[in-house]
């Protein structure tokens, strides 16, 4: 396994993602720049300009056009990737629904960032949650290494005959996209071999003519839509298979969830993304003090790995679900999903944190674990909020 590695390089999440794209060698990348996606596409553009990859880089006039071009390219028969963030993802969402409906297996990197207003360029998951019901597979990385690994895995999930759906690989804006860390890259040919050739059943530029994107009346739309929903459900097993293949070959296993020190845990936090790094440090520290705490990190958010999550929670008594997005008027998305699908005995509590890049310090995570020892607060608690805006005691 080790011999397949190029060795460790110091890269930002954005640069690592661009390396994955270079190694995958997509045929077409339609793209429009937006912070904090820029390091991805800036680095990839340099690879194209330097002749390191022969991708057709389409510089279009908006994210809406980028995603539209991506749908055309993917259905024409070319492996297609793009990248965006925040308002750009919001603008793409209309076409992501179409990509999913037309079963276009586009892989896109997302530098997850807050949505306006107020305008803000920093990390949270509001943009990803806007695309939640688009029908795309949605994966989140904890760090630059995961952003790279998941990007290499993504085409095999997207293009699997049982799936054929867009895959969004998210990484937190700035804390992953712009933060340099050690990343172990695979060799170009290893990535090429792992990803394999791009094959879809009915390429528009193939031997067999076809009509795609046709009008579907009430007598057909429902059946086509439900098959699309079932394809996303099938992606859970496909993701597990691809993760296993990746682990067998390259020694890094990135399953749907990452259960960290959950053995015999009584209190647990569930969250998505880069704050997992901070939370793991806190778990280690509390474990040293003899506290039975653990962490569950979701990598796969759509389809939602209900069973894997329930298994990981096991005999936990109290769970804090930390959402880096709000769902105004109801409970935030991750909490709502877990509450809907979890039938275990643990008590679930809802927290929102880190909106607009608000830093989540180890003390914040410690505070959550401490609060889990006390009676339930009910409702939603806003972690890291200043002053009297924060619900409950602080």
């Amino acid at each position: 396994m080790a011999k397949t590695m190029l060795g460790v390089e110091v890269l930002t999440g954005g640069e690592a993602t661009a390396h994955a794209m270079r190694q995958i060698r997509p045929d077409v990348v339609p793209v429009y720049p937006i912070t904090p996606q820029t390091p991805i596409i800036q680095t990839f553009s340099r690879f194209v300009a330097d002749g390191k990859v022969d991708t057709v880089l389409l510089q279009v006039e908006s994210e809406h056009s980028a995603m539209s071009a991506a749908v055309g390219a993917a259905l024409a028969g070319g492996r297609t990737m793009t990248a965006t963030a925040s308002q750009g993802l919001a603008l793409m969402v209309e076409i992501i629904y179409i990509a999913a409906g037309l079963r276009a297996p586009i892989v896109m990197a997302v530098g997850n960032r807050a949505l306006s207003a107020p305008i803000n360029i920093h990390g949270d998951h509001s943009d990803g949650m806007l695309a939640r019901d688009s029908g795309a597979v949605q994966i989140f990385a904890e760090n630059a290494q995961e952003a790279y690994d998941l990007m290499v895995m993504a085409p095999r999930v997207a293009e699997h005959p049982a799936v054929l759906l867009p895959v969004l690989v998210g990484q937190d804006g700035f804390s992953v996209t712009h933060s340099a860390e050690n990343v172990a890259l695979l060799r170009d040919e290893e990535v090429q071999d792992f990803v394999g050739p791009y094959e879809i059943p009915y390429p528009l530029l193939g031997e067999r003519p076809s009509s795609q994107g046709l009008f579907a009346m009430p007598d057909a739309y429902y059946e086509i839509k439900v098959r699309q929903v079932q394809a996303l459900e099938a992606a859970e097993q496909v993701f597990a298979d691809v993760a296993r293949a990746y682990a067998l070959r390259f020694g890094r296993h990135l399953g749907a969830i990452d259960a960290y020190r959950m053995e015999d845990a009584e209190r647990a936090i569930v969250l998505i993304g880069s704050t997992a790094g901070t939370a793991k440090d806190v778990v280690d520290e509390l474990r040293e003090r003899g506290e039975k705490v653990g962490l569950v990190v979701l990598r796969l958010f759509r389809p939602f790995p209900h069973k894997a999550l329930a298994d990981a929670l096991g005999g936990v008594q109290r769970v804090a679900v930390l959402d880096r997005a709000a769902a105004p008027g109801s409970f935030p998305p991750l909490f709502a999903d877990i509450r809907a699908g979890y039938s275990g005995s643990a008590e679930l509590r809802s927290y929102v944190y880190g909106l607009g890049g608000r830093d989540t310090a180890p003390q914040d995570i410690e505070k959550v674990f401490a609060e889990l020892q006390r009676p339930a607060h009910g409702g939603i608690r806003y972690l890291g909020l200043t002053g009297e805006d924060q619900h409950g005691e602080s």
Partner: protein, 111 residues
């Protein structure tokens, strides 16, 4: 028609391939009424043929031949432009012969 639709539904994204459907059958959109003809009133002016937006009126060498109900959407333009009242809209369930003439068991008098 059902089996053709089934084929496309089973493919990802409802992709339609050559051979799935021999010819377009847009008449599936028709709701409620369809044109019928009283050939004793028809003068072969072919105004219906000229005006039909869906090429559903059939003619041969200038002689009216009937309607293609696979294409007719029931827009009623033909019955509007017919100067002799030969074309009348009838309920979808009305039995017609292949030319659009109401069969004797039809529920409505033609013309």
């Amino acid at each position: 028609m059902a089996s053709e639709r089934q084929t496309a539904i089973l493919r990802p994204g409802g992709v339609v391939l050559p051979g799935d459907i021999e010819r377009p059958r847009t008449g599936g959109w028709r709701t409620g009424v369809k044109p019928s003809v009283d050939l004793t009133l028809c003068v072969d002016c072919l105004l219906c043929w000229i005006h039909c937006p869906d090429t559903a009126v059939q003619q041969k060498h200038g002689v009216f031949q009937g309607f293609d109900y696979d294409l007719c959407k029931g827009c009623e333009v033909c019955s509007e432009v017919c100067p002799t009242g030969a074309i009348q809209m009838v309920a979808e369930a009305t039995p017609l012969d292949p030319r659009g003439v109401v069969l004797p068991e039809g529920g409505r008098r033609n013309g």
